[in-house]
Amino acid sequence: MKVSYQWLKEYLDIDVEPRELAEKIARTSVDINDVYSLSDGLKKIVVGDVKRCKPHPDSDHLHVCQVDVGEDEPIQIVCGAPNVAAGEKVIVALHGARIGDNVKIKRGKIRGQQSNGMLCALQELGFSDKIAPKDYDDGIYLLPDDAKPGDSVFPYLGMDDTIIDTDVTPNRGDMLSIYGNVNDIAAFYGLKPHFQELSVKENSDENASDLVEAVVNDETIAPTYKLRVIKDVKIAESPLWLQIKLWNSGIRPVNNVVDVTNYILLKYGQPLHSYDYDQLPGHRFSVRHAKKDEPFVTLDGDEHKLIENDIVVTTDDQPVALAGTMGGQGTAVSDETKTVALEAAIFNPIMVRKQARRLDLHSESSMRFERGINPATVETALDEAAELISELAGGKVTKGIVTASEKPAEDKQITLSLAKINHVLGTELSMDKVEDIFNRLAFPVETAGDDQITVTVPPRRWDIFVAADLYEEIARIYGYDNLPATLPVMTRNHGGLTPRQKFIRATRHDMEGMGLTQAISYSLTTVEKAKQFQIDPVDEPMKLDFPMSSDHVATRMNIISGLLLDVAYNVARNVDNVALYEEGRVFLPKGGERPEEQEHLAAAVTGQMLANSWHKDDQPVDFFRLKGIVERYLHNLGIAGKISYVADDSRSEMHPGRTANIMIDDQLVGFIGQVHPTTAKEYKIPETYVFELNLEALLAADKVANEYHPISKYPAITRDIALLVNTDVTNDDVMAIINKRGGAYLKKVHLFDVYSGLHLPKGKKSLAYTLTYQDDNDTLTEDQVNKAFEKVTNALEDDLSAEIR
């Protein structure tokens, strides 16, 4: 709410500067968006008196004016506004002035005529169209006759006021009024507010109840509903003091009736609505839910089709307003209005909120209904409004208020324990101190013994229900700055990461240590991408009921597809070397209410993993580079089972000849390989290698503990073997035979060369291994090794038709 500092001062003897006050409000009450003056950044703008005004000789619309600006001689200013005339008091931006939008005014010639400044509209002083009065839309603003030429215009226009723009939390609806602000500020400065209320003089002979009737059948819709009728009003411009209060609060002045309702809304937080009595379809008011598809035209001219949850005010069952939200076009107060029906109500906050939200009609009124209304001031506000309309528009207030429903304004009593207060806040407040705080808030208290304190909460603080709400009142008035700062006492339960959390963290560190950078992608994706690259495919992903964008409609069932989008994003920006990993959730619907959430690890690499170097050849990533990372990672986990990589040509997004399933014994835990060129093309990415692992499976897998093996003191002997085999013979096939026939002394087998090419017969390849033999307890003899080696070579020849080279 835009709170006028000058308005506050009418009711509070406050002597702190506006900025200091704002800081105090922020620390004690509600947050502050901004503190500003409408005159900020403006200068040399004064009152002018137009002495003479003649048409410009070379223009059909410009005027040449002689304007008294408080100097010895009037100055000449050329002005194009149609409403400029001799005798008017105007806003003059002098030579050297700074006006709105940081525009500087300089003297100059306009079509040959000297002009020593500019006559201004409020918009030119930075007023937005939302607050500048409508009456001056087509010309310059005219000041009151008593304005003194040469004076700064700011005091005349209330622009010297400081506005404290507060950001009110949903619970503090009471802070959406001057009344609420005055009460709260009085509490934290310990002041006595002198709030002024106007009482109404019913100066008409007629009874309101003879003119209108009001019925509310369902009090949940309108717990309070009241009407007054004011006759013989004369619609006109409001006095300047009223207009200033409105525009300083961000509300546009319209006419003396509408302005009064807005003034009351600001002062009490009580929205009012004024109807043109003679335009109403009937005079029996009622509030009800709308009918399905019932049409309604709001006063902004928009036509709405209503739904049954909407709420409308009707007369003779014809809708005349969206209750609490916006009035209807045909019944709004206009220049011709003679009789006003004035409505003060409390509408159901939830219904108003839903209606305003659905129709996108948030207004100063709906905002207040949504956050609650003080039942104690509905009538006060209605009476004061009627009185003001009577004073400003010359209306006659008819006798009585017509009431259809009335929510009682009740005090609430909450009993507190002093010990508990101090226990919750960590303070050592005395009973006197607590009583003092409630006295400042003007909440009556009664104490019993030295611990019990019963607080009476007035209806103006409808946000307070339970003891905890009062703890907050005590804490904020006492001051959070004064609260001690301690840490919870240490206890015997210790914290720490769980094994699962440690495992995930170690996984990330492994990936980073091996050159992959962590990515965090979106979990929500398209159905198609959600379904790709699954380790163990599930048919359909979980879909959102009402997605926001077509790119994010389903939860992912793999991580790779998101990483490929990241690769594409980089490649499109000429970043050719990408090595990313991601650890996170995938969501697998398995028939339950919610999908199974699995922690997965995936990586995508393209280009080179090592930057180009002046003394090293480029090393484009390939299958084995990435497999090395997976192997090392799985090795680090110490998995007890047998890890194997099984060629797999069944994954449609993967290269059929360059993809392997990753197995622990017989369990599928992931896959690795090259993205299928067709898929890569769809993603607009170059040759890219990926893997995805199910971390749940890895976490659950049996692990081996680290064990110490004494290092043999006896020398190791090595033998190299190169064999020519058919190309379909795999390394695994060879290794299996070597390990099976290697004998007790075979410690290690190392593949050191793979060759297939021109120098070999077609369909053949060469594999070369180093076999290391060692006896832990004795020195091996050449003879022992030769015998063991021969067994291996024989087996390779027999079982694989290998040719030993």
Binding site: R353, A468, Y480, P484, R505, H552
Partner: protein, 348 residues
């Protein structure tokens, strides 16, 4: 010429030859020539038997002295030459040490992960446990049990991705509050937990909004937990993440699941409170929301609010990262531009 004179002559000639040896091969030749079995000193010594018994030890001693002198001279010269050869080799091996080193493959964690890890480590060091929840939540845990009944206005502030009327993408990590309260055995002491993770809001992505972001929720509930403890804890968090010279300011705020509720601001680390564009000229930056756990939340999770109480707080790693590094577009965090990710490679 007597033997002694001959030895003296041999010594002088040998010394000259040693001095003139320019390489290791030459000095080796000199050694063999002078000191070898067929060398002149050996033959001189062989002539000793001609000498008288008095002369023999004198000449013998002198001969040994000459041999030792020559041996030492040869070794010194050899060491000199070896050193010279090594120096020459080292001079040859000189590198341009300003050439760049060979790159190694080293990745790093995402900037948001870094913030999360920092916060997690901090709380773990204070004895908190880490509770990670599901990202697809039941509505009852995401809202109802947090004192956010249907039609609560605060639900409007959190536009939600629903899957079914009872299942949604969690809008906050707070559901773990209720789940942990239900699970915790208070006879073992207070519950001290934090819960980091991804959350989702039905928002259109732009520079300051993301439909996916991260939150870290924290809660302590026990018999003797006070609002002063909350204030102290928030000070520790803010100062350890942003610097210990910064002040913490608490302001009243509103969250349905806490009462009293506060927002914590820290001194703007950019201008140290003087006012700048980052803090919108207030000198303060809002970093987290917190409060004392609402009695309704405790009650709904089966904890007696008369006996137990505590505090809860929530902070946004995305926002922290944006503040700390001046990142001006939240989408940067999820596009994974390598040039962006690589900027946050401090390992300290």
């Amino acid at each position: 010429m007597g033997l002694k004179d001959k030895l003296t002559q041999l010594r002088d000639e040998g010394m000259a030859e040693i001095r003139n040896s320019k390489d290791l091969q030459k000095i080796n030749e000199v050694r063999v020539k002078m000191l070898g079995k067929k060398g002149p000193i050996t033959s001189v010594l062989r002539g000793m038997k001609e000498l008288s018994a008095e002369e023999r030890p004198v000449v013998g001693k002198f001969a040994n002295k000459v041999r030792d002198e020559l041996t030492t001279a040869i070794e010194d010269r050899r060491a000199e030459l070896e050193q010279a050869e090594l120096d020459a080799q080292l001079a040859e091996e000189k590198l341009d040490v300003t050439l760049p080193g060979t790159p190694v493959a080293q990745g790093q964690s995402h900037v948001i992960q870094q913030i999360i890890d920092q916060v997690v480590d901090l709380f773990v060091s204070m004895g908190y446990e880490v509770a990670v929840g599901d990202e697809v939540e039941q509505e009852v845990y995401n809202f109802e049990k947090l004192n956010l009944p249907k039609d609560h206005p605060a639900r409007d502030m959190q536009d939600t991705f629903y899957v079914t009327p009872t299942v949604l993408m969690r809008t906050q990590t707070s559901p773990m509050q209720a789940r942990m309260l239900e699970k915790h055995d208070f006879s073992q002491g207070p519950l001290k937990m934090i819960s980091p993770g991804k959350v989702y809001r039905r928002d259109t992505d732009d520079a300051t909004h993301s439909h996916q972001f991260n939150q870290i929720e924290g809660m302590v509930v026990g018999k003797h937990i006070t609002m002063a403890d909350l204030k102290g804890t928030l000070e520790v968090v803010a100062q350890s993440l942003f610097g210990d010279k910064l002040q913490v300011r608490l302001r009243p705020s509103y969250f349905p699941f806490t009462e009293p509720s506060v927002e914590a601001d820290i001194t703007c680390f950019n201008c140290m409170g003087k006012g700048c564009a980052i803090c919108k000229h207030t000198g303060w930056i809002e970093v987290l929301g917190a409060g004392m756990v609402h009695p309704n939340v405790l009650k709904m999770s089966g904890v007696d609010p008369e006996e137990y109480g505590g505090f809860a707080f929530g902070l946004g790693p995305d926002r922290f990262a944006m503040l700390k590094y001046g990142v001006d577009d939240i989408r940067n965090f999820y596009q994974n531009d390598v040039r962006f990710l690589n900027q946050f490679d401090e390992k300290g």
